[in-house]
């Protein structure tokens, strides 16, 4: 028996107002694997990521996290209750392009809030765990600061710590560096690189070609809602099968 994939996506389709954004997408991500999803804007890559934790509801298809179905009841195919959905989501950590920190809570409480009110940890245990993860992303000294006082890179590192502290099985990154000033991109990528070498399973929507090349185990290229290339980075970046990917990579070189 082959190892059960950490994330399995089958026949995923999604339309917005009659326009097909994803069409029959299949993807399997093994434990410890880092998958980069590339594609031009509007290709459906963010939608794909957001479907994985059901922030978008797919029209068709199924998604399993460690064999467990998300979004729909396995037996009846009926939508999960919000409570059931919330429970499955704790297995997935998500990092957003615009950080999405909660501005009324300081850095520490941004991390502890879900530990206390979702996982039911005692406050002292939550603080201890939160500080460990803030330390990991280099934000422990800023624990008492409020998000409004942080730089974009610092905010994103806090957001990563917030997601990691829930100890999810899979981390989802939705263009985590796209909203950052160029000089702040490095600090976030270096945290993500550390995570990949620690064996985290990660699915990353990104425009950072170097990062995708050096860190991923699998690179996926989406075009108009279809996966047109899925290969190891060595193959993807040096001898892609599709003409479209070749053009995409050339454009990147020119810019």
């Amino acid at each position: 028996m082959p190892e059960q994939p950490e994330v399995s996506i089958r026949n995923l389709s999604k339309s917005f107002d009659g326009i097909e954004v994803l069409r029959d997408v299949d993807l399997e991500v093994k434990s410890g694997e880092v998958v980069s999803i590339l594609g031009s804007s509007g290709s459906g890559k963010s939608t794909l990521l957001r479907c994985i934790n059901w922030l978008e509801t797919p029209d068709r298809g199924e998604i399993r996290i460690n064999g467990e179905r998300i979004g729909l009841q396995d037996k009846t195919q009926k939508p999960m209750s919000r409570r059931e959905l919330a429970k499955v989501r704790t297995q997935l950590g998500m990092v957003f392009q615009s950080f999405n920190l909660w501005p009324h809570l300081n850095v520490l409480r941004n991390v502890t809030e879900a530990l206390i009110y979702v996982q039911g940890l005692k406050k002292s245990d939550a603080v201890e765990r939160a500080m460990a993860f803030l330390h990991k992303v280099g934000m422990a000294e800023k624990a008492a600061s409020y998000p409004a006082t942080l730089s974009g890179g610092q905010k994103q590192r806090v957001a990563i710590a917030r997601a990691l502290a829930m100890q999810p099985k899979v981390m989802l990154f939705d263009e985590p560096t796209s909203a950052l000033d160029p000089e702040l991109v490095g600090e976030v990528l270096s945290v993500m690189k550390d995570l990949s070498s620690e064996g985290y399973t990660m699915i990353i929507v990104t425009h950072e070609m170097d990062f995708a090349r050096n860190v991923s185990d699998q690179v996926v290229f989406l075009e108009k809602g279809i996966i047109i290339e899925k290969s190891a980075p060595e193959i993807f970046f040096h001898s892609p099968r599709s003409e479209r990917v070749r053009r995409f990579l050339e454009l990147d070189k020119v810019v």
């Binding site: 919000r82 997935l92 998500m94 957003f96 909660w102 501005p103 009324h104 409004a148 997601a163 829930m166």
Partner: protein, 213 residues
């Protein structure tokens, strides 16, 4: 004005203050409940609440108070004056507060909600820990504004015979034949009440600013 007149005036001020105070507390809370029920968009109930809000906002306070006070006996309920006054003020202010809460909820950031869903918060936990604390702060100026409207509209309760801070000035001048001093004093007391509300709002805002929002 002698000591007796001052005593009457303060009694009137107390009547205005406690009836307004109770209505404000009820109105802020019930307004929140109405706003949440409307956000849930429950068929029929939503239209019903929408109709209530339009009606309550369009009815003059004096009319509403008279209606409640006079319709009580017809329905076999014996309302005392204070209860009728509180009911009318609450019905009126709840409608305005519901709209204040609702617009704050509708304008709340979708991104923060997604972050809460992504860490596995249920809608209730998200509401309680993330959305409500922030909407309280953003709604506060409008809520306090509505509170001061209520205090300033409260002389309407005199129509059913309650001797409030405005009504009492008539009583005093009927004895002293000098209407100006009690009216001026009443004006000062109203300003003090509104001032207290605004002062409370400033303290809350300063606290919120310290959170660097």
């Amino acid at each position: 004005m002698d000591g007796n007149a001052w005593g009457l005036l303060l009694q009137g001020a107390w009547t205005t203050a406690w009836i307004s105070g109770v209505s404000i507390l009820l109105g802020v809370f019930l307004g929140l409940v109405v706003a949440l029920l409307r956000l849930a968009k429950i068929p029929f109930l939503d239209q019903l609440l929408g109709a209530y809000i339009s009606l309550a906002r369009a009815t003059p306070l004096v009319t509403l108070i008279l209606f409640i006070f006079l319709s009580g006996p017809t329905l076999g309920i014996n309302l005392n004056r204070s209860t009728a006054a509180i009911m009318a003020l609450t019905l009126n202010t709840t409608a305005f507060n519901a709209e204040i809460w609702r617009s704050a909820f509708n304008n709340f950031s979708k991104e923060q909600r997604e972050a809460a869903m992504a860490v596995g918060m249920t809608p209730w936990v998200y509401f309680r820990r993330i959305m409500l604390p922030q909407t309280v702060i953003t709604s506060l100026p409008n809520l306090v504004n509505e509170m001061s409207f209520l205090v300033k509209g409260s002389p309407a309760i005199a129509v059913i015979g309650i001797v409030d801070l405005t009504r009492v000035t008539n009583r005093i001048s009927a004895v002293t034949y000098d209407p100006l001093p009690p009216i001026l004093a009443a004006g000062a007391l109203y300003m003090a009440m509104i001032g207290l509300l605004v002062w409370g709002q400033r303290i809350a805002e300063r606290k919120a600013n310290r959170l660097a929002m």
